[in-house]
């Protein structure tokens, strides 16, 4: 994964032209609502993935990236909107600069454009989840179990596992149907063989007895046993084999068909009755028909689903998974219709079996009719057989069954008129044929017996093959299901433990015994949490909204750890920590700092105090923050980089723009005094709204510095440390001089800065004020030009030393 060095945004969302340097470190962006913080988040997401999730999904109808991604002033010129990110690809150990333009969001310009870097960035682009907004955290915690399962599966890239499982299940079902059909065909072949052999049961002894009786008549050696190589007609002369007509067998075939005509009205009566009931119910309730049809339609769509284009209507979706979820939700809506559909197809399947049996009986009789020149009978039988085939084909779908209503009501067999008489006449013709000689009878019996025995053997072989295939497919499906369930259970167990662990860290003061349970079911993922040892409940049952938000962040972090492992190096938390109260912020900082020490977090918050706390708790380093003070359409976020403030004030004065310089100086003093008050632990009368006057802050900061230097002097004296004493004296002198100069300009300072009465001042009046404030602030800073950090007492509440970040300043505060 990556870490970001810097980002430059031009005309993207609320940003006009802005560069932020993250230096691959965690960074906080603070500012009031509407100051442009989320614009930075959108720009990061856009550059990494080519999309802005805020502009897609529910509630964004009519909003498009190209139209609404650019700054509002550039909404007709998407080419003007561009983001450049300089980042480090940690795994490759390479840096790259990537640029994405809103006009062609799919195109990524990369420098250097090496194939392996591009491949790594494609991987990065597939992870939009590195950006977490507040509205997203709740979906992990409060979502329905089915929705949570989908969200988590999508996040953890588990959807492929479901796809494989689904495909193996589909294949198993298909092969089971094929195996059932093969079994049916074996039964039909067996029936035909039994009929020819004229035996009641098909034991090997009965078959051998029937065959040997004819073989004996032909003076052929008997068959001792049936094996796979047994030829029932072995020894029958080749010429005799040319004719397989056997009068007795032929008569039995015709009789069997004739009997089936007599019994056909009784076959499948229950199934037909049930089908007619369902058809009537559907006709009485058009909505049921619609649901049944849609169920079938959607089922078909799901079977053909391969891409983000709907196979039913060709609409394009964001991705194939969203489309699958949509279709599955529609299927779930028609549960009653689904039961109706299933029952109808089962009954239809039973009728198909009856049809196939009839067709098996028809086949030899059609051949007999043709051989005896009974063309009209042959044609009638052939047409009936074909009609039955078409009938069976119709029974394969609900729509087909509905079309068959009249035929089902009238008798599904639809025996051709006069067919019974035709068969009777065929029987008469057959019976009128001269009896075959014993020799011919035996020869043709054996020849036909071999044919039917072969057909039966082939059918059995096909059945065995189908059963083997079905068994293998079932084994694959069952095994994959078992393995994936075991793996996912173990994985969810690990996520559950991490989640509970993080939440306990976050709430160590009041929920140290917190437990959680993440349970995987069929298509759902249940989350239950402990509530102060009183039981396990859904997260939304008793916990406050703030606690739920905390759970959302913790679950997100646990999932990200699972997703990326040691490569979880970057995440953007967009105002997701807003509802964590002040009592838990320290623990939150500790959680991110200690559990994810190598992860770069870009955090936005509208709470300036919270942003400061992240710095004081060491989550955010020196200089790794920016505070937006406001926003305008023309400028985008308004803020003053500390490093540039003096140059800008100088430029204001050069233009003789005293009001701009004074405003800038006031904002800088407000910001700086707030920072210093926090760092120095200055004592200020508490205000419930945390809105402190600059004068109060300024006095408290200057006073705290005085006290700290007093402590330093007393400590140096007690240790009789001449070097330290001299250093403290120098600091006190610098402070005295700065305050004196500042005091000389106090009349201007008060009016121009504290009271905003700048209009009456000239550049000559104001320039000395700037210098006085600058000198005053500088004596709070380390003089090392590479450091320039504010000096601060350490530890904060019971200080032992006054120091800077680089270590150039270390002044002892503890007396001997």
């Amino acid at each position: 994964m990556i870490q970001i060095d810097s980002i430059t945004m031009r005309d993207v969302r609320g940003i006009r032209d802005l560069t932020l340097n993250f230096d691959q470190k965690s960074f906080v962006i603070s500012g009031p609502n509407g100051s442009g913080k989320s614009g930075v988040v959108d720009a990061i997401e856009f550059c990494l993935t080519g999309e802005i999730s805020r502009l897609s999904g529910k509630g964004t109808a009519g909003i498009t990236l190209q139209r609404h991604g650019p700054h509002v002033g550039r909404r007709d010129d998407p080419a003007a909107a561009e983001v450049t990110v300089r980042l480090n690809l940690l795994k490759l150990g390479k840096s790259a600069t990537i640029t994405r333009n809103m006009k062609r969001p799919r195109e990524l310009r990369i420098v250097p454009d090496e194939p392996y870097i591009r491949a790594a960035l494609v991987e990065v682009a597939s992870h939009p989840e590195v950006v977490l907004s507040r509205r997203e955290i709740i979906k992990y915690v409060l979502a329905e179990a089915g929705e949570r399962s989908r969200e988590v599966q999508a996040l953890l890239r588990l959807d492929r596992i479901s796809q494989v499982r689904g495909a193996l299940g589909t294949v198993h079902n298909k092969l089971k149907s094929a195996s059932d059909q093969a079994l049916e065909e074996t039964a039909n072949a067996l029936g035909a063989m039994k009929r020819h052999l004229d035996i009641e049961t098909t034991s090997p002894e009965n078959i051998v007895a029937a065959v040997d009786a004819r073989r004996t008549a032909l003076a052929l050696p008997p068959i001792d046993s049936l094996t796979e190589h047994t030829a029932l007609d072995a020894g029958v002369e080749t010429g005799a084999r040319a004719s397989s007509f056997n009068k007795d067998s032929a008569v039995r075939d015709v009789d069997a068909l004739r009997k089936s005509l007599d019994t056909s009205p009784e076959v499948g009566l229950d199934e037909v009755g049930s089908l007619l009931d369902d058809i009537a119910a559907i006709e009485a309730d058009p909505s049921l028909l619609q649901l049944v049809q849609r169920e079938s339609f959607i089922q078909t769509g799901l079977e053909y689903l391969q891409t983000q284009f709907c196979p039913l209507c060709d609409s394009e979706w964001a991705d194939v998974d969203s489309l699958r979820v949509h279709l599955e939700e529609k299927l779930a809506l028609s549960a009653t219709a689904g039961e109706c559909r299933k029952r109808m197809l089962n009954n239809a399947g039973e009728l198909v079996k009856a049809v196939r049996s009839s067709q098996v009986l028809l086949k030899p009789v059609i051949a007999l009719a043709k051989s005896d020149s009974k063309d009209d009978v042959a044609t009638s039988l052939t047409e009936w057989s074909e009609g039955l085939g078409a009938f069976a084909d119709e029974l394969a779908t609900i729509e087909g069954v509905l079309r068959l209503k009249d035929r089902l009501a009238a008798g599904w067999a639809d025996v051709p008129r006069g067919l019974g008489d035709a068969l009777d006449s065929l029987s008469v013709i057959l019976n009128a044929k001269p009896d075959q000689s014993a020799t011919v009878n035996a020869q043709t019996f054996l020849t036909r017996a071999q044919d039917r025995y072969s057909e039966y053997r082939n059918a059995r072989q096909a059945e065995r093959t189908a059963k083997t295939a079905q068994a293998a497919a079932k084994a694959a499906y069952d095994t994959y299901s078992a393995v994936s369930e075991e793996s996912l259970s173990a994985m969810y167990g690990a996520v559950q433990d991490d989640f509970a662990d993080y939440y306990r860290t976050l709430n160590s003061g009041d929920e140290a015994g917190f437990k959680a349970r993440l349970e995987q079911g069929a298509g759902k993922l249940d989350l239950s949490v402990d509530f102060y040892g009183l039981g396990m409940f859904p997260p939304g049952a008793y916990h406050s909204e703030g606690h739920q938000d905390g759970m959302g962040v913790c679950l997100y972090l646990a999932l990200m750890k699972r997703l990326f492992g040691d490569e979880f190096s970057f995440a953007v938390l967009d105002d997701v920590v807003m509802s964590i109260d002040s009592g838990h912020r320290k623990q939150f900082c500790r959680l991110l700092r200690e559990v994810f020490p190598d992860t770069q977090f870009i955090i936005t918050t509208h709470d300036a105090i919270w942003a400061r706390q992240m710095r004081s708790e060491g989550l955010i380093g020196s200089g790794a923050s920016v505070e937006f003070q406001g926003w305008s359409v023309q400028t985008g976020p308004i803020f003053e980089p500390v490093s540039e403030v003096w140059e800008r004030i100088e430029a204001d004065l050069a233009r003789n723009d005293v009001s701009a310089a004074a405003g800038r100086l006031r904002r800088h003093l407000e910001y700086t005094c707030t920072e210093l008050a926090d760092l120095l632990a200055a004592q200020i009368p508490f205000r419930g709204d945390a809105s402190y006057e600059l004068g109060d802050l300024f006095s408290a900061v200057v006073g705290r510095q005085r006290d700290l230097l007093k402590l330093a002097a007393a400590a140096a004296n007690s240790w009789n440390d001449g070097v330290a004493k001299a250093k403290v004296d120098a600091m006190k002198e610098q402070r005295r001089a700065a305050l004196a100069t500042y005091g000389d300009e106090q009349w201007v300072v008060n009016k121009a800065i504290h009271f905003n009465e700048w209009a009456e001042f000239s550049k000559a009046d104001f320039a000395p004020v700037v210098e006085a404030v600058k000198a005053l602030l500088e004596q709070f800073q380390c003089s090392n030009p590479d450091c320039r950090s504010w000096m601060y007492p350490s530890p904060k509440n019971d200080p032992e030393s006054l120091r800077c970040r680089c270590g150039s300043v270390v002044v002892n505060l503890k007396k001997k």
């Binding site: 588990l158 298909k174 295939a469 068994a471």
Partner: protein
């Protein structure tokens, strides 16, 4: 997250290898089909129920 998918497939093939109904050929072919971009059920059907000529030794 490819790791968990890969782990599942590895264990899947391992367990399939011990099942009599599943032949080494089937496992070899599953290794190819199950990692292809698009899962085609007809490909899987062919693996478990190959055309008859493929069964001739």
């Amino acid at each position: 997250m490819a790791a968990i998918e890969d782990d599942i497939l590895t264990e899947f093939y391992n367990r399939l290898g011990k099942i009599n109904d599943v032949t080494p050929r089937m496992i070899d072919e599953l290794r190819v089909v199950l990692v292809s971009a698009k899962l085609k059920p007809e490909e899987l059907v062919r693996i478990f129920a190959p055309p008859p000529e493929e069964e001739i030794p």
